[in-house]
Symmetry: C2
Subunit: 502 residues, 2 copies
C-alpha cells in the first residue's frame, strides 16, 4: 500500500493536511481485490484506507525529509534553505533555535525528528476536527442499537500494543464517541479506575437520565481485547503475556471477572455488569469473540472466529449471512453444552462479527490479506487520557494513565518497544502526554495543565538517561473535550529547557 | 502535663498497651482548673487527656530508652540485655538482626528508633480497636443530627499540619466514623478527588438509600479548616501559605468555591453542595466559623470566634448559653448586612461552637490555656489513606494521597518539617504508608498491597538520599476497614532490604 516505513522515499509529500483543502486521494489501493464478502462495506473501506495512508505517510516521510535537510547543514544559507524545504515537504517550519546552532554545534537531528512527529501529530489531530471523517456506524444509531441489546455503556480495554490502536474504528467499526477506550499493557485494566467509571455512569443515569434512566433494564458492558499473531505466535503476540495466547486470554478473562465481582460485592440491589472477551489476530485483524452463556459466564475455548464466519457466509446474500451468523453463535454454545447468551448479547456479537468482516476484507484489499508489519511499528507513545483521534494501527502505543507512578508498567513496555524501533537506529522516542478537560467546569483547564506538566515531568524523571541524551522527547498537550478545536501545546522538551513551551 | 518531648525521662513506662489490661490512668491533669464553662463536658475532657497522654508518652519515651540501650552496646551480653530492657520499658522486642551486628558495625540507632516508632504505632492502633474509646458524640445521634441540619455527608479537609491532627475528635468533638477526613498541606484539597467522592456518595443514596434517599432535601457538606497561631502569627501559622492567616483563609475559601462550581456546572438538575470554612488558633484550639449567608456564600471577615462565644456565655446556664450562641450567629450576619444562614446550618455551627467550648477548656485544664509546643512537634508522617485512629495533636503529619506523584507537595512539606524536628538531631524521619481496603471486595487486599508497596517505593525514590543514609524509614501497612482488627505490616525499610518484611 504505502511506502515501507522510513526506508523508501514517500511519494505522498503533499498529503499533509492544509486548511480548507480537500483530502487528496493518494495513489492508494495497490492490493485492492474485487471480490469481497457480501456484508463488506467497500466504500467505507476505501475511505478508511485513504485516511490511514495519508496519516501514516505524513509520519513516515519525516525521516526522508530530515535526511535531505541534514545534507544541507554545511550550506552557508542552511537555515533559510532548511526552512524552505521543511515548509515545502512537511508543511511546517522547523524550530529555528535548533537550526540556528548548526554552524557551531552538531545539528540536533533527534530534536528535529521529535519536533516533526509532534507537529505532524498536532496538525492531523486538528485536521480531524476540521474535516471529521468518521465512517463508522452513525453514532446515534449505534447508541440506540446498543441500548436495544441491553447496554447503556461500552467500556473497552484493548492492549496498549499499537497493533490494536485501530480496534474501535477499524477492527470493530464502532463510532469512537460511543466507546470509552482505555488501553493498558496486556489489557490489564485497573479495577479501581473502572469501578469509579461505573459509579459515574450509573450516577449519571440516576441524576440526569443519561443515556437512559436507571429503571431501563440495561447494563454497563466491559469489553477486553487481547491479541495474538497467527504468523509468528511465539514472538509477535502480546509482550505483556510473554507472547502466550492462552495466558493473554486467561488474564483478560480473570480481570473481567474480578471487576464484575468487585461491583457485585461492593454494591447492593443486584448491581452487576456484563462482560465480553474478544481476541484479535493482529496479522489479519480477524477477531474471535468468546461467547458468554445465559448467565454471562465465558470460558476460553468457547468462541466464534470471524475468519470462519467470513468463509462460511461469503457466498450468500447479506440477509442470509446475517441469519447464518446468528445461528453460528447459537451453535458455538450448543457445541459446548452451554446455554445460549441472551438475545441482546447475541445481537451485539453478531454485529461485531459483521463489522469485522469488512475489516477482514480491508486487510485483504489493502494489505494483501496480512499486514507487512506483523510486529511493532508504532510512530509515537501516547500517554495520559484522550487520544480519541488518529486511532490507526501501529501509529500509537497508547498507555492510559493518570500518574506515571501507577502507569509505569505500561510506559516501560512502550519505552522498551521504542528502544528497539527508534533508539537502536539513533532516533528518539517521541512521547506525547495528553489530558483532555471539560471547558464548562471552572479551573478544569488549570487542573489539566497541572496534571499534564506533572506527568510530563515524571516521564522525563523515569527515563532520565534517555531524556538527558535527547533520546526521549516529551510533548505536553491538552484539549478541551467539549469543543471541536484541536490540541493545545503546553510544553515540550524541545525548547532547550525541560518544561519550556514548544 | 506529660513529659516534654524527648528531653525528659518519662515516668510512664508502663503505659504501653498490654492485651487484656485496662488502661492505666497515669498521673495526669497537672493543670486541671476547677472552673469550666457550663457547656464543657469535663468527664470527656479527662478521658481525652488520659488518652493523649498515654499515647504521646509511648512515643516520646522511645528516645530515652534507646539512649539507655545504646549505653550497653559494648557489653558482652548486649543483645540479651538490650532485648530485656526493651521488653521491660517499651513492651516489645527490638529487631535482632540490627542488634546482632553491634559487635562489628556501629549500632544502627536510627533503624532502632524507626522500629520503635513503627511498633508503637502498630500497638496503639491495634489497641484502639481492642479498647475503643470514642468519647465524642454518639455516632448514630450525630448522623441523625447532621441530617436534621440538612446534610447527609461531611467531607472534611484540614491542613496536613500535625497541629490539626486532632481536629475531628478533639477540636470539633465529632465521631470520627461520621467524618471523611482528607488532610492536605494548606488544606488545598484535590477538586477531582472530592468530585469523585461526591459522585460516589450521591450514587449510594440513589442506589442504596444510604445514608438517605435522594429525595431527602439534604446536601453534601464540604468543610475546610485552615489555621493560624495567635502567639507567633508570622512564623508558626500555616507553612503552606507563608504563615499568612488571610492567605490561608482566602485560599481555603477559593478552593471550596471551585469545588462547588465544578459540581454545579458539571452536573444538571440543580446539583450543588454546601460549604463551610473554619479557622483554628493552634495555640488554644479555639475555632472561628465563617458564617455563610442564606445562599451559602461566605466572606473572610464574617465569622464567629469560639473564644468570644466562650467569654460571653461562661456565666449562664447551659440552655441559656445555647440560646445565646444561636443569637450570636444571627448577630454576626446582621452586623455584616448579610442574610442569616439557613436554620440547619445555624444549628450545625452552634453545635460546633458548643463542642469547641469543651476543647477550649481542655486546653485550659490540661495545657495551661496554651500548648507548650506551639510549633511543629509531630512524631511521624502518615501518608496514604486511613489513619482514622490516633488522631492526636502534633502526633502525625498526615498527607492524604493515592500516589506520591500527586501528593509530592504535601509530602515535601512533611519531610521539610521533619528535617528540622528529627534529621537535625540525628533521628530518622519515620514515614508510615497506609492504605485500607474493604475485605468483602475480592482482590481489594491485593490491590491495597500493590498500592502500598508502590507508594512506599516511590517515597524512598523521592527522598533517596535520606533513605540511603538511614535518615528516612518507611513502614508499609494495610488494614481491613470492615473489621475491627488492627493494621497488617506489609513491608518496611528495616529488614535490610528496601521492601523486606518488617
Amino acid at each position: 500500500m504505502y511506502s515501507k516505513r522510513r526506508t523508501t522515499r514517500s511519494t505522498f509529500w503533499t498529503n499533509f493536511p492544509v486548511e480548507g483543502e480537500a483530502r487528496s486521494a493518494g495513489e492508494t489501493n495497490a492490493y485492492r481485490v474485487t471480490e469481497c464478502h457480501p456484508l463488506t462495506r467497500q466504500q467505507e473501506n476505501a475511505a478508511l484506507a485513504r485516511y490511514e495512508e495519508n496519516v501514516k505517510n505524513a509520519f513516515d516521510s519525516i525521516e526522508t525529509h530530515l535526511r535531505d535537510i541534514a545534507a544541507l547543514r554545511h550550506d552557508a544559507e542552511f537555515e533559510r534553505r532548511a526552512q524552505a524545504l521543511a515548509v515545502e515537504r512537511l508543511g511546517f517550519e522547523l524550530p529555528s533555535h535548533v537550526l540556528a546552532k548548526a554552524w557551531i554545534d552538531p545539528l540536533d537531528m533527534r530534536a528535529l525528528y521529535a519536533w516533526c512527529v509532534f507537529e505532524t501529530y498536532r496538525r492531523w489531530v486538528n485536521d480531524s476536527y476540521r474535516q471529521p471523517m468518521d465512517v463508522a456506524d452513525n453514532e446515534r444509531e449505534f447508541a440506540v442499537f446498543l441500548q436495544a441489546c441491553g447496554y447503556h455503556y461500552l467500556d473497552f480495554t484493548p492492549c496498549a500494543d499499537g497493533r490494536l490502536a485501530h480496534a474501535v474504528r477499524y477492527v470493530l467499526r464502532l463510532p469512537k464517541t460511543q466507546v470509552r477506550r482505555r488501553a493498558h499493557a496486556g489489557a490489564m485494566f485497573d479495577v479501581e479506575d473502572s469501578l469509579e467509571k461505573w459509579v459515574e455512569v450509573e450516577h449519571c443515569r440516576y441524576r440526569q437520565g443519561v443515556p437512559n434512566t436507571p429503571d431501563a433494564p440495561t447494563r454497563y458492558l466491559k469489553v477486553v481485547m487481547y491479541h495474538y499473531c497467527s504468523s509468528d505466535p511465539k514472538h509477535e503476540g502480546c509482550a505483556a503475556h510473554g507472547s502466550d495466547d492462552a495466558k493473554a486470554a486467561g488474564a483478560g478473562l480473570a480481570r473481567l471477572m474480578e471487576f464484575r465481582t468487585a461491583i457485585e460485592s461492593g454494591f447492593c440491589c443486584g448491581a452487576s455488569i456484563d462482560l465480553l472477551l474478544i481476541g484479535i489476530d493482529t496479522d489479519t485483524d480477524a477477531i474471535r469473540v468468546h461467547v458468554p452463556d445465559a448467565t454471562g459466564d465465558m470460558v476460553l475455548n468457547r468462541y466464534i472466529d470471524a475468519a470462519d464466519v467470513y468463509a462460511e457466509t461469503a457466498r450468500v446474500s447479506p440477509s442470509q449471512a446475517h441469519a447464518e451468523i446468528i445461528e453460528s453463535i447459537r451453535q458455538v454454545s450448543a457445541a459446548h453444552d452451554a446455554s445460549a447468551p441472551n438475545p441482546g448479547m447475541t445481537a451485539l456479537i453478531a454485529k461485531l462479527l459483521e463489522n469485522n468482516i469488512s475489516q477482514i476484507d480491508y486487510v485483504r484489499q489493502y494489505h494483501g490479506g496480512r499486514y507487512r508489519d506483523v510486529g511493532h511499528n508504532e510512530r509515537f507513545i501516547g500517554s495520559g487520557a484522550g487520544f480519541d483521534e488518529l486511532q490507526l494501527r501501529n501509529l500509537t502505543y497508547f498507555a492510559y494513565l493518570k500518574t506515571v507512578e501507577e502507569g509505569a508498567i505500561d510506559l516501560d513496555v512502550g519505552v522498551k518497544i521504542f528502544s528497539g524501533l527508534n533508539v537502536s537506529r539513533g532516533l528518539p522516542i517521541p512521547v506525547i502526554v495528553r489530558f483532555d478537560y471539560a471547558g464548562s467546569v471552572p479551573q478544569a483547564r488549570e487542573r489539566a495543565v497541572e496534571r499534564c506538566l506533572r506527568v510530563g515531568q515524571a516521564v522525563q524523571t523515569r527515563y532520565a538517561d534517555l531524556a538527558a541524551n535527547g533520546k526521549l522527547h516529551v510533548l505536553m498537550a491538552i484539549r478541551e473535550s467539549e469543543r471541536d478545536g484541536g490540541v493545545e501545546i503546553i510544553a515540550s522538551t524541545l525548547a532547550g529547557e525541560s518544561t519550556g513551551v514548544h
